[in-house]
């Protein structure tokens, strides 16, 4: 039966290949259906809202919707000289509509962002526009205030035409678009965000380095000690890991305060004078110390799990071939631990770069990070689109590291506990 077609048939007479493919597809759908509920849930409640953040961060429809006719008539205007009559007429109609709806205040705030001086001339226009006669709006508007005859102001209006803006992202990097449309930096003493980005990177980098330097020896000790001792010492790593972040931060606040245990100890051993206790909290020092201790377990665990797999006979072989303990360590042991180092460092760096709670509590003004700035704009200034823009800039950085992590370590190799 099968020899005729050259195909192997199943008992139902269907070619085996087709039947197998069908079964495979069924299995694929089955597997996918199991994942689907969680995937759908995350897409709706988490992934799409992140997309929503993106929309908010570039959204600039407000002015676009307030002056629809003006922007339409401005399409043909080249921006070199005072716009033609039809633009003035369109602007007058748009503006009168806004005045009726009592939305002209919003417009003046928005336009004032783009160029200073709009507030007063719009106010004046609102007063005078009541008595405008039909026709020749150009003359009438220009006679309200001399700035209406200034082409700069009309160009400023035109700049607000697009429904999307990169202004929030530029602001996040302390830059803005000037009147010629060039991207320039703000004055040196007002570059607060760049300082924050650099500080976030700096703190994340040094916390990672400190964690690595401290975790390597103890991970090595844990991996080489006999089981019954290392299990006991492992508790020292795991207990902080399972303890509430706020509890650990609280204990650092008690330790580092001016009348705290660490300062008491320094005074006792005579390192500092009692009336000259150093500030160790509400500055960078506090952030460094607390974050290092809190993130240390995340470095120890991956290092430990890699070191555990390295056979001690390799070190013995190295020594028997004439290497000193240092050379053997450097040439044999250390290279074998690099996967663990990579995993630990990337994990700690990712966690450190987005840290919020600990810097907010022990960091003071000089030890806060970019996350604190995002929270500040979410809660205090309510500039949600700016908070979204900053959040997405941070997210882009983290995702880049996440991608590297995934390539190097593999996301399914994350070990917990």
């Amino acid at each position: 039966m099968s020899s005729e077609t050259g195909k192997i048939l199943t008992t139902d007479g269907i070619p085996l290949e087709v039947s197998l493919k069908k079964a495979e597809r069924k299995n694929k759908i089955k597997a996918f259906l199991l994942v689907a509920p969680l995937l759908l849930f995350l897409l709706i409640t988490y992934i799409f809202p992140i997309g929503d953040m993106l929309m908010r961060s570039v959204d600039d429809k407000m002015v676009t919707e307030m002056l629809p006719k003006t922007f339409k008539s401005m399409e043909k205007w080249d921006g070199n000289e005072i716009p033609p009559e039809e633009v003035f007429e369109a602007f007058y109609i748009d503006f009168q509509k806004l005045v009726e709806e009592k939305r002209d205040g919003k417009l003046s705030t928005q336009l004032n962002y783009t160029k200073n001086g709009f507030k007063s001339i719009l106010k004046k226009l609102r007063r005078k526009a009541k008595n405008f006669e039909e026709g020749n709006y150009k003359e009438q508007i220009m006679s309200v205030h001399k700035r209406w005859a200034d082409v700069e102001y009309w160009r400023a209006i035109k700049r607000r035409a697009p429904a999307f803006t990169s202004a929030k992202y530029l602001k996040g990097m302390d830059m803005y678009k000037n009147e010629e449309g060039e991207i320039v930096s703000v004055e040196e003493d007002r570059r607060i965000h760049r300082v924050l980005w650099l500080r976030t990177l700096e703190i994340a980098f040094f916390v990672t380095l400190l964690c690595f330097l401290m975790a390597y020896p103890i991970a090595h000790l844990l991996a080489t000690l006999p089981m019954k001792y290392s299990n006991l010492l492992m508790i020292c790593v795991l207990l902080p890991f399972w303890t509430s972040l706020l509890v650990r931060t609280a204990s650092w606040m008690i330790l580092l305060q001016q009348q705290g245990v660490v300062n008491d100890f320094f005074v006792m051993i005579g390192l500092v004078a009692d009336d000259n206790r150093p500030e160790m909290m509400y500055n960078k020092t506090g952030t460094y110390v607390a974050m290092t201790q809190i993130l240390l377990p995340f470095m120890v665990l991956p290092l430990y799990s890699v070191m555990k797999t390295i056979s001690p006979s390799l070190m013995r072989a190295g020594k028997s071939l004439g290497g000193t303990p240092f050379i053997t360590f450097w040439k044999v042991y250390f290279p074998l631990t690099i996967p663990g180092i990579g995993a630990g460092c990337l994990l700690v760096f990712i966690l450190a770069i987005g840290y919020y709670i600990t810097p907010a509590l022990v960091g003071g003004a000089s030890g806060t990070l970019i996350s604190n700035q995002i929270a500040f704009h979410m809660k205090s200034t309510l500039d949600w689109s700016f908070a979204s823009a900053m959040g997405l800039m941070l997210l882009a950085g983290v995702l880049a590291i996440y991608w590297v992590y995934n390539k190097l370590v593999g996301i399914d190799n994350i070990k917990l506990g």
Binding site: L34, L238, W242, I254, V261
Partner: protein, 284 residues
């Protein structure tokens, strides 16, 4: 770690330096937690050791902050603890349910786009909490779930599922699928097979994932800060406000209770891990 007799002096010194460094690091890791215990029994209103405490004077110690924590009239700890437990329990149930089912699918060798889907499911663990907080807040505000328990539970399910997915997939990686096939060939339907065969075998992984989800929810403050109203206050929120505004020793009493809770969770997690390794035949 005893050194052989023939070790040269400078390596001997280096060895002791190494042990000393390790001791210091372990001390740095664990010591901060132990500062909280004695101070929570402070009879005075300060967060530093009084002279009496240094001299071990029994009058300098008292349970007043524990009493304040439980009976204090102005204290929101009762409500906070109730909310925290309710939210954490429901969030854990949700995370375990969704996470385990998803892990079963992910562990199937037929799963298409495994890497991409895994990366998506794990992402709430990797994305900085502040960004998750903003995104989830936007969603909950639109859905009308801000300042409700439901909203916070959903948010914590988002944050908790990655842990369940990771632990359960890890358990399933050593799972012998022939036992489920054997069950099917004996006439068991898939649900029955799962309940009777698969679930008991992967239970340690499921429970330890659940513990992670529980701790994540119980300790979570960033997202709750965006979502919670006065009615939904939780223990972490109360600690956060306490640490920012008035540092009172009552916080230390609460912190001590939390440390005891986390010790219990640690012991459970360790026992489960060992049991799971035994079940999977990993002998160490």
């Amino acid at each position: 770690m005893a050194l052989p007799k023939y070790t040269e002096p400078h390596y001997r010194i280096w060895h002791y330096v190494y042990i000393f460094i390790c001791t210091c690091v372990f001390f740095f890791l664990i010591a901060p937690l132990f500062v909280i215990f004695p101070l929570s029994f402070n009879a005075e209103e300060f967060l530093s050791f009084s002279e009496g405490m240094k001299n071990l004077d029994p009058d300098a110690f008292s349970l007043r902050w524990y009493k304040d924590m439980i009976y204090g009239t102005k204290n929101p700890w009762g409500l906070a603890a109730k909310n925290s437990f309710i939210i954490a329990i429901f969030a854990t149930l949700g995370s375990v349910l969704l996470g385990t089912v998803a892990a079963l699918g992910l562990s199937s060798r037929h799963m298409p786009y495994k890497g991409l889907i895994m990366a998506t499911l794990i992402s709430p663990m990797i994305v900085p909490l502040i960004i998750s907080g903003v995104a989830i807040f936007f969603f909950m505000a639109k859905a009308g779930l801000a300042a409700t328990h439901t909203g916070i539970v959903l948010a914590h399910i988002i944050l908790g599922t990655p842990f369940v997915v990771i632990t359960v997939t890890a358990t399933l990686s050593g799972f012998d699928h022939s036992v489920t096939r054997a069950a099917s060939s004996l006439g068991s339907d898939p649900v029955n097979t799962f309940m009777k065969i698969t679930l008991p075998l992967i239970l340690p992984g499921v429970i330890s994932g659940g513990l992670f989800a529980f701790v994540t929810s119980f300790d979570e403050v960033v997202v709750v800060l965006f979502l919670a109203g006065l009615e939904n206050t939780t223990i972490p929120i109360q600690m956060w406000t306490g640490l920012r505004e008035q540092l009172s020793p009552t916080i230390l009493a609460v912190a001590t209770c939390l440390i005891i809770l986390s010790t219990l969770i640690l012991v459970t997690a360790e026992l489960l891990r060992r049991r799971s390794e035994r079940l999977r035949g990993i002998n160490r």
